[in-house]
Amino acid sequence: MDVLSRIPQLLTYGLISGCILSLGGIGVSLTYSILGFSNFAHGDFMALGAYIALALLPAIAWLGIPAASLGPLSFGWDWILAVLLAAMLSSACVVLLDRLLFRQLRSAHRITLMISTVGVALALRNLIQFIWGPQPQTYASAIQKAIRIERLGIRIKPDQIFIILVALTLATALHLFLRYTKIGKAMRATSDNPSLARVCGIKTERVILWTWIIGASLATVAGALAGIENKFITPELGWQMLLSIFAAVILGGIGNPYGAIVGGLVVGISEEVSTAFISTGYKPAVAFVILILMLLIRPTGLLGRKS
């Protein structure tokens, strides 16, 4: 098969992995814009959420919710319920972590905070490995037949269509939340001008709470979707994606959640399409190249504000 005829299929794969990167990137970007530091533990929040969902599956089966697959998908209502509950539980864990650690460092230098997130990343990943073990685990093992779309020259599995739809829905929901709800406006205001937000009577700690809840929830969904796409989850699941996520966030303009979505799609697609021309082994390097080029050419990102 010649190189060009593979492009539509690679674009499709890129779109799917881009959706997962975008969901992860939104949290990184929001944390940066509200709390002012780069959260290197965000990848491990994704793994945490994915594993909590895994742990909830037996409990949900015990409650009598059938594990039957949902139409052509490889998973059922039980998995969807597990992910929703896992999003809440991992939000609670992250908020607790904020209370115990990050809150004590609120006025610390951003470098101190960044390094503390590296510590959290290591601790969390090893905790996950300690509880669930290092071996890959699966949500469901149903085999799926890909749908062939001849006109576009692509094959796509029902699960992958589901991933795209979930990402689209959540991105729209986030947009509506930021644009029209009171707390969403308070978040944008705090990101724009934190001291003026306080002058308006906005409680910063409340905004921070919501930032963690949204970031951790989207990270859980991203981690669980990565588990569906890769067919397994490991404790390194999020850590392995972190470089691509940071490349995506910086590409889009760090601090801008819309930028994270655009950046995630661009990085995901670039990584996949690159495999048509260079060895798959260089895929992670593509994110690096994007990161370096962006920092050299336009450090504020595609949608970043000039300041």
């Binding site: 009171k182 308070a186 003026l196 002058v199 906005i202």
Partner: protein, 234 residues
């Protein structure tokens, strides 16, 4: 009754106190201007009054309430509005959103309050959906004051409202300050370029080195030769 009574305020930053016992009174319905050279502690005084910096000593009363240790979100509810000198708008938000955030603590429908602000600043009415970051300095100052007025405050504190503006725009802002005051809102202004501000003020204070130096009626300070030489540029 005094709208605002601050007495003996000592305040500043961790290792450096800037105010060494400053007292200021604003009566109901008054315009009061605080002048003084750079570093006199004018902005620090504003931040302390508004609860953004803790008062180490001294007390602040708002009407008949002791507000010395209250945080900004409580003061805002009491009718205390503050427009900082710089970064006093949300640049990536629209005019309408900026005003809406001014009324953030209210649970009511804001449409009447929007109307009142647009009556005062008609130029903003047609630009509701414009991002404030794309507006001129004078327009931004109007948005900043409009934001503060959304709460229908009883006291409006303005930190150098005309600092970066051309003279004709500054005159317009001063006219608007008088219009705001005519609605019964007390106004406390900090100005480095103080002549115009003192002219429209009922009273004024001169601050230097973190202490009160002079106070008196606005015109009295304007005509005082010493103050003129030292603080008003001759």
């Amino acid at each position: 009754m005094s709208r605002l009574t601050a007495s003996g305020l000592v305040s500043g930053y961790e290792d450096m106190m800037i105010l060494h016992g400053v007292s200021v009174i604003v009566e109901d319905g008054e315009i009061v201007t605080i002048i003084g050279p750079n570093g006199a502690g004018k902005s620090t005084l504003m931040k302390t009054l508004f609860g953004l910096l803790p008062a180490i000593e001294g007390s602040i009363r708002f009407g008949d309430l002791d507000t010395t240790a209250l945080p900004p979100d409580r003061l805002v509810r009491l009718g205390f509005a503050y427009v900082p000198q710089v970064a006093n708008v949300f640049p990536s938000l629209t005019v309408r959103e900026n005003l809406e955030l001014g009324g953030f603590v209210l649970r009511e429908n804001l449409s009447r309050r929007f109307d009142r602000v647009f009556d005062l600043f008609p130029a903003l009415r047609t630009r509701k959906r414009t991002r404030v970051g794309n507006m001129s300095g004078g327009e931004r100052q109007m948005v900043a004051m409009g934001r503060a007025l959304m709460l229908d405050p009883r006291l409006l504190m303005l930190d150098e409202p005309t600092a970066a503006l051309a003279p004709n725009l500054a005159a317009e802002i001063f006219e608007q300050i008088m219009a705001i005051n005519e609605r019964g809102i007390s106004v406390l202004i900090v100005e480095q370029n103080a002549k115009e501000s003192l002219r429209l003020s009922d009273r004024g204070y001169v601050l230097a080195g973190g202490c009160n130096r002079f106070d008196g009626a606005g015109m009295e300070l304007l005509e005082n030769e010493d103050i003129g030489k030292l603080y008003l540029g001759g």
